[in-house]
Amino acid sequence: MNGVHDMGGMDGFGKVEPEPNEPMFHEEWESRVLAMVRAMGAAGAFNIDTSRFYREMLPPHVYLSSSYYKKWFLGLEEMLIEKGYLTREEVAAGHAMQPGKALKHGKFDLANVERIMVRGKFTRPAPAPAKFDIGDRVRAKNIHPTTHTRLPRYVRGHVGVVELNHGCHVFPDSAAMELGENPQWLYTVVFEGRDLWGADGDPTLKVSIDAFEPYLDPV
């Protein structure tokens, strides 16, 4: 979706402000939100792409004015309601009012903690040979799906060069909508800064994205 989350190349957000000796969490609740998202995802309530999509669907003014973990919280609460794991009445009451829905991987208890600290695998067997070789010129498609996608707006319609092939990966555009993993070849595609930003762009800049094969056309 063409949301405010897709902010590569936007102007007006001001300076980057690093915080010296930044703590891991600024408020205790932030750590609880992180843990709940990790736990409910590991229990099978949602996949990582669906959770990203729910953050993207926050209204633009909410997205831009909420802190990072506030966005995580708002996305989590809405997603769990829509997927039937809790109700708006329960949220309003602050307590459970009916039994829980079965989770694909069961209750998240202490025995599950260790496994989530190892990063998941996203590669899958290839359903078809790769269409592109290293060095091929490709054009990022000019597409504007209203659902989740990982093709940022700033490269759409532009020509780049395939630099790496990462194998076949879970396709976020399908997984986010719970339409299955639909594995697709994943490439690093490099664009010249001036192709993206025009003649005034930094001549020393190259930008790459990791692009799934359905995002690309041959040139």
Binding site: M36, K107, H169
Partner: protein, 211 residues
């Protein structure tokens, strides 16, 4: 609602907004617990694991080893996950880590314009600035301007390569080894490796500079 009002009457406006979030987060945890989805002790354990087991010290060890062991460096640039998997002390990196090398000709910088993708296992949880709009919007268009916000200046003809983390691949920058460190041990070198130098928004410390 009058209860909420009473509860907050000592606080200023900003603080009461924060407290409202705090209450909502607690309520959600209560519901998830009562419905049998999560065990609060397991949430505690997740937080403790993040606080103690991951962090930029993991990435720093990898960089320091690459600086001292040419065969490891070659393997690391060839397949980051596989090379790091051979190190006993860092084993949680997963399958999709790509290590990119800074040279006098090319400087690498990593961003996630769409959300906040970051190599947690190597660097810990990302800092707020990495997840915030100014960095995410500007890194792909004006990286030299972003670097200026970090007081970092590159020679004007150095190529800047920005890696936008748009998939589940993760990127770690291998910074250049500082001059004046000949003969240093891996442990000494690791002390010079900063988090920002592995994102590409900074350089390693130089010998003798305050940390």
């Amino acid at each position: 609602m009058s209860h909420d009002h009473d509860h907050h009457h000592h606080h200023d406006h900003d603080h009461s907004e924060l407290s409202e979030t705090e209450l909502r987060v607690r309520a959600l945890e209560t519901i998830l617990t009562e419905k049998g989805y999560v065990e609060p002790a397991a949430l505690d354990a997740i937080i403790q694991a993040y606080e103690t087991k991951i962090g930029p010290h993991n990435g720093a060890r990898v960089v320091a080893k690459a600086w001292t062991d040419p065969a490891f460096k070659t393997a690391l640039l060839e397949d980051g996950s596989k090379a790091i998997g051979t190190l006993g002390h860092v084993s949680r990196v997963g399958d999709h880590l790509v290590v990119v090398e800074n040279t006098p000709q090319r400087h690498n910088m990593v961003v996630c314009t769409l959300c906040s993708c970051y190599p947690w296992e190597m660097l810990g949880l990302p800092p707020v600035w990495y997840k915030a709009s100014p960095y995410r919007s500007r890194a792909v268009k004006d990286p030299r301007g972003v670097l200026a916000d970090f007081d970092v200046t590159l020679p004007k003809d150095t190529e800047i390569r920005v890696w936008d983390s748009t998939a589940e691949t993760r990127f770690l920058v291998l910074p250049m080894r500082p001059a004046g460190t000949e003969g240093w041990s891996e442990e000494q070198l690791a002390e010079l490796v900063t988090r920002d130098s592995m994102i590409g928004t900074g350089f390693p410390r130089t010998p003798g500079a305050p940390s």
